[in-house]
Symmetry: C2
Subunit: 254 residues, 2 copies
């Protein structure tokens, strides 16, 4: 089995190392990841400048690894279309440092890389550790092996993938695995205005999470209760049940 691994925290982040070491036990792993921190890049692709891909030593391992000057989505495209000649069986993205829950997935480079894998026709999984402090990737890494094995036995339909969030706790503290929906995780954005030494203002994006419409079946609820959240997602944004309604507006070019 061949597994392509990418992330959005950059190729030298601890999370991708832990994921690669875990999946190395069941597959040949190929790492193609951004050369630096590229979180919150969403599904950005690099069209207006060329990409560099440099073969790098991946920590203490002999894995095939490339550091790419682009976004996570670029990495998946470039890996599949240019760098690798081997047939890839699964695309993994992660382990992200921090949650990718609910509406957050729209901003997430981690999830977007997995979406790109699915667009290109591969089974794809995004894995995130739902915390920023005192991170312990062990449970997420171990669970990724389970997911890889399950996804090969139980193929997902085309154009779908799994988004996984793992609570930051010890294995014995995990309360279970839930198959969830995306919750509504919105932010109260607050921009902090500051003045630079030349008297010009600039803004930092701040903001705190507001959990709205949280429901028992959501990924957010699951992680709060120390359960692993596995959310099946797709990328057809059509709001089908609105089509007939908008037809009745009877819009014309006038």
């Amino acid at each position: 089995m061949n597994i392509l691994i990418t992330n959005d925290d950059g190729i030298f982040a601890e999370g991708i190392y832990k994921l690669a070491c875990a999946l190395d036990k069941i597959a040949k792993v190929y790492i193609v990841a951004p050369d630096r921190q590229r979180s919150a890049t969403g599904h950005a692709i690099t069209m207006h400048e060329p990409l560099r891909a440099e073969k790098v030593k991946f920590f203490d391992k002999d894995f095939d690894a490339w550091a790419v000057s682009g976004t996570p989505t670029d990495c998946v495209k470039l890996a599949i279309e240019a760098l690798l000649s081997e047939k890839i069986d699964i695309v993994f993205s992660g382990i992200n440092k921090g949650p990718n829950l609910g509406t957050d997935v729209l901003y997430s480079g981690t999830v977007s890389a997995a979406i790109e894998g699915a667009i290109l026709g591969y089974p794809a999984v995004a894995v995130s550790l739902a915390d920023f402090k005192n991170v312990n990737y062990n449970v997420a890494a171990k669970f990724s092996i389970t997911v890889a094995e399950k996804i090969l036995k139980n193929p997902l339909p085309p154009d779908t993938l799994l988004n996984i969030n793992v609570p930051n706790c010890k294995e014995e503290e995990i309360q279970g695995v839930n198959i969830t929906n995306l919750g509504a995780r919105k932010y109260k954005n607050s921009f902090i205005e500051r003045i630079d030494p030349r008297g010009q203002s600039y803004y930092w994006l701040g903001g705190e999470v507001i959990d709205t419409k949280d429901n028992d079946g959501s990924d957010i609820h699951s992680v709060k209760n120390n359960c692993i959240a596995v959310t099946p997602i797709h990328f057809d944004l059509t709001k089908f049940d609105l089509i007939e309604k908008v037809k009745k507006w009877n819009m014309q070019v006038k």
Copy 2:
């Protein structure tokens, strides 16, 4: 009525000028747009560096206009949360030079800006001209007025928005307005490898469109037939009908 206008082609692109001039006929327009070309940025946000917002002269107009150093999504957040004190009635993004059809919407800065508007709770519309050459924004600009008027009379449900693609033709050549679904517009990605003067390779993302699973109700089909495509979209990526199926995998932390 107050309308916030952004885009991803940059604040000095012709498309945003045409849109602002059209909507100025029915509303007070505020322009907050990237200071340069930011297409294909997806839903990227700027978290690791601060944003600059400079008040600028917008072509020959006296509109309130800011050029922002961030992405289209940043522009909407910053406009709503920091720059504008007025209550905004609609967020418009466009007019994009080039189509945003089918799967493309995932990569589109134009559509992502409108999605951000919807996330923040505003009626939101993305408008694109479905061509790159000999562009004529007149029909798209005029139709945007119709859409603005209709959307105020017929509020969309929360967390939904409209994605509009207008064929690049004269008004009399438009064959109608269709309410559509997103087609499957995938790319045969081809990376072109080149060698720089120092002997190092680099890659350009190329690629041609492959229209797969195109159906009569799709936005792609509509634009091909010289009809305006209006697609209601949302941003909950949950694939609900897969939840029960994945539950049966019975995954454990082992």
